[in-house]
């Protein structure tokens, strides 16, 4: 058997899974054997790790989304808060 027992497709999901929890020895060996034979899945794994490392080097999610609260939205929220204040006086 060229790729031991797991298909490339299955291996891609197992590699993803391995990033979220500990795999059984059976699956770990399966991945290891497959990667020894399969350059494409090796590449896939490297790419996933690369993406993960890029995301972890950024100073948090908000960095990627560097918008600030638009002024019209700010005004709307301010009005709501003031409304709420009035009601609680009643």
């Amino acid at each position: 058997m060229r790729h031991w027992m797991f298909s490339c497709k299955k291996i891609t999901s197992m590699i993803s899974e391995s990033m979220d929890r500990d795999l059984s020895l059976y699956k770990r060996m399966g991945i290891r054997f497959h990667l020894m034979m399969c350059a494409l899945c090796r590449r896939y794994r490297k790419q996933l790790l690369f993406i993960k490392s890029v995301l972890q080097q950024s100073d948090g999610v908000e960095d990627i989304f560097c918008q600030s609260l638009p002024s019209d939205a700010r005004k709307r929220i301010e009005e709501k808060i003031n409304d709420e204040g009035k009601h609680s006086h009643d």
Partner: protein
Amino acid sequence: MGATDKQEHDAIHWLDQYGDALYRFAMARVHDSFTAEDLVQETLLAAYRSYKNFSGKSTVKTWLTGILKNKIADFFRKLKPEYGDANLGDYASSTANLFDKKEKWKIKPGDWGGDPKNVFERKELMAVIRACLTDMPEKTAYVYTMRELEGATTNEICERIQTGENNCWVILYRARMLLRRCLEVNWFGR
């Protein structure tokens, strides 16, 4: 009324002080300006109403962010299932055509070469990642963001959106497949 005035003043003060941070936090997770605005508003109103519960043990910002996190989780919990749950159509589309019938690579992962070398390249890459995340199904992007950027465990994630852990792994797999492919096409140009 003095106490109420003070509270009201506080909510406005929070908006001034933390509005941007809360909005960014929400945007990074829901990718929609109107939804993000609603969530920030709900957060501030909820904080305003429950101010007496604020123990002062954490900073106000942490406290507000905690409320916002719950609001975001509620939002995704209420989303219609077809948006985010690991239904077969979505799952298939993340791997569609990538593999042949024998489940071997058909669209082969390309050689991405070296890592981005300078800050400029890195910034551009982040922009592409952002666009890719925005294109993803909402819940998929949210789950992925919590996992990779906040370091939440799958256990915490499924608790927050009330789904099974298996579903979480499927969603994360789909997110990685979609993001990898999206970067390959849009950043590495293949």
